[in-house]
Amino acid sequence: MRIDEPDEVDRILETALAGYSRQEPLVGLDRRVLERIAQARPRRWLGFPRWAVAIPLAACLLVGAFVWMRPRASQKQAAHAPAARPPVPSETGGPETALRSEVRAARNKRRPARGLPKLAEFPARVPVTSEERALLALAREAPEQLRAAFGDQQNKEPEPIRLLEIRIQPLLSDGNQ
């Protein structure tokens, strides 16, 4: 009998292919699969669902960020308000730089300062105080006396300023220090 007969080849092939994937898994595959799934399952933290912790935490962070940002924003506004700074000519800049800084300064002058009320008259009128009113009355009634009093004050020579003598002690060391 020839070994390479087609029937023999087919028989060997069929037998071998039938056993190609006939492999049994190691014992306990079901248990290992279920254990792995149990490990991968999301655990509940202290009996609370995660969103119960995450939402208040996110709210706190949001409020904190808002509080932190707010004073910085007002500081920024205050820093921008007196923007009319005199132009500082740079040492390296030429005439173009100077011109540019002048234009910037002029633009800043034109721009109204933010946050300050625009006054109709500057300086604003202030009501006369009681002392000022009494001084005005005195000036009307006895102008000579008032002039004499102020004149005495103006004619009085200021006392000379006396400065204490400064004494510097000579150094005692030999000068190596």
Binding site: D4, L17, A18, G19, L29, I37
Partner: protein, 176 residues
């Protein structure tokens, strides 16, 4: 309370599915990977994917779904674990020494090596066809190709194997 009972019932149903189909999934993975440990890893990963996706609960054909997931997982692992394909000259080398080959001759392993040496597009449908109860229609669903293509590839793979096997056996016969 009802949610807890539902969850427990779901776990029990999934455990039953694992118990029912893990051996089948293992064979599908083994047919592709040809290694017990790699196949088991692929099976575990397949069941984990199915559990997370939740598709197993509404699957009409759970075997088909599982075979598809297991095959996909195994194929994803293939480039990392696949050994170098067998040198096709190896069976002929065995035939050069007929006495030694006759002693060690295990046609099943020879054929298995020949199958391993096939191109993947031919090997995979052939390997899946050796898994119990997987017909060409199911293999086509698993691999996402036409059933006719599956049949053609299996036929072509068998033809190649038959030619190589006949050549080896002829060589051995001539040496004798």
């Amino acid at each position: 309370m009802a949610a807890g009972e539902d969850r427990a019932a779901r776990e029990a149903r999934f455990a039953a599915l694992v118990e029912r189909q893990s051996r089948f999934a293992f064979r599908v993975a083994y047919a592709i990977l040809r290694n017990t440990h790699d196949a088991e890893d692929a099976v575990q990963e397949s069941f984990l994917k199915m559990y997370r996706a939740g598709t197993w609960e509404c699957a009409v054909n759970e075997r088909g779904l599982l075979a598809r997931v297991a095959w996909r997982t195994a194929v994803d692992r293939l480039p990392r674990v696949r050994h170098e394909p067998l040198d096709p000259a190896m069976p002929s080398q065995a035939a050069r020494d007929p006495e030694e080959a006759a002693v060690a001759a295990d046609w099943n392993s020879v054929v298995a090596r020949l199958v391993d040496a096939l191109p993947e597009e031919l090997r995979q449908p052939l390997a899946l066809s050796t898994v119990e109860d997987l017909n060409s229609r199911e293999i086509a669903e698993v691999m996402g190709i036409a059933e006719g293509t599956v049949r053609t590839r299996i036929m072509r793979a068998r033809q190649i194997l038959r030619q190589k096997l006949a050549g080896m056996m002829g060589g051995r016969h001539e040496n004798r």
